[in-house]
């Protein structure tokens, strides 16, 4: 698994598509829906943070779901905004969302074979 992080609109997806030169891939945009996945495709999970937010709104357990997903697709590429670099939100849900997204990213980074931070479309390999 590879983890790609960075701020909003930094060219993370473009970086992935250019840098990894994937022949067959499926792009999951803010969803873990497996319907579109075919054998031999590299799974790109884009907007991981929005998927987390959606799950928390539904009362789901995104921590468990993503652990299962990574086990099922150990070669996937996960792309996420960094959402913790700001003022602590007044809204309790927003606070929880930031904290839990951050901690999940720490856990994913630990498991990842490669972590890249993208800024201005440029990737820095930090693991």
């Amino acid at each position: 698994m590879k983890l790609i992080i960075g701020g909003y609109a930094q060219g993370k997806l473009n970086y992935v598509l250019k840098h990894y030169e994937l022949e067959n891939y499926v792009l999951l945009d803010g969803t873990l829906s497996e319907a579109a996945i075919e054998a031999g495709n590299t799974v790109i999970l884009h907007c991981f943070h929005l998927w987390v937010k959606d799950g928390l709104k539904r009362g789901a357990n995104p921590e468990e779901e993503i652990r299962k997903f990574v086990k099922e697709y150990p070669d996937c590429i996960i792309i996420s905004d960094e959402v913790g670099n700001g003022i602590v939100p007044i809204d309790a849900f927003e606070r929880e969302y930031r904290e839990r997204t951050g901690r999940m990213l720490v856990e994913l980074a630990e498991k990842a074979e490669e972590v890249v931070r993208v800024i201005c479309g440029m990737g820095q390999k930090i693991k």
Partner: protein, 181 residues
Amino acid sequence: MMTLIIGGSGSGKSAYAEEYITRRAGNRQKYYLATMQVYGEEGRKKVERHRQLRSGKGFMTIEQPVDIEKAQTMMQDGEKAALLECMSNLVANEMFSRESPLHEEPVVEKIVQGVGELKESLAELVIVTNNVFEDGVQYEDTTMEYIRAMGTLNERLAAMADEVIEVVVGIPLCVKVRNGG
């Protein structure tokens, strides 16, 4: 020696800072300078989580929500190491916990002075600070002043520090390198 560790919410900076100071402190007595004022259930949970992280690592906790230099008076003699966590709470407490808010400049000067005194009295001082700068939101004046105070303070502390480390998804990135490792 002084080290500044910066990261966002949920970045893993606390866990890293605790591991870091434990490594740096060696056999010295370790203090945890807690700056957070606890309100409500969420605050209690946060404190409890941090206590769990620290438990068994030999920290003595000093609650110091304002006047950070006073923490020295609570410490024993001998060589010491301290982890100050975190700047965002200290700055908020200094600015907003008085009857009338203190402004950016006096708050920055007061904290720089206090940290300077602490640094002198300690073998190792590790300070955790927050990246509160990148959400792109234009807040009302008071919050913008707070953000500026944090920014100026981080600059000043980084200049004083021997080492500055940014923690991103739990991974330490060296921003300012300590001479001689």
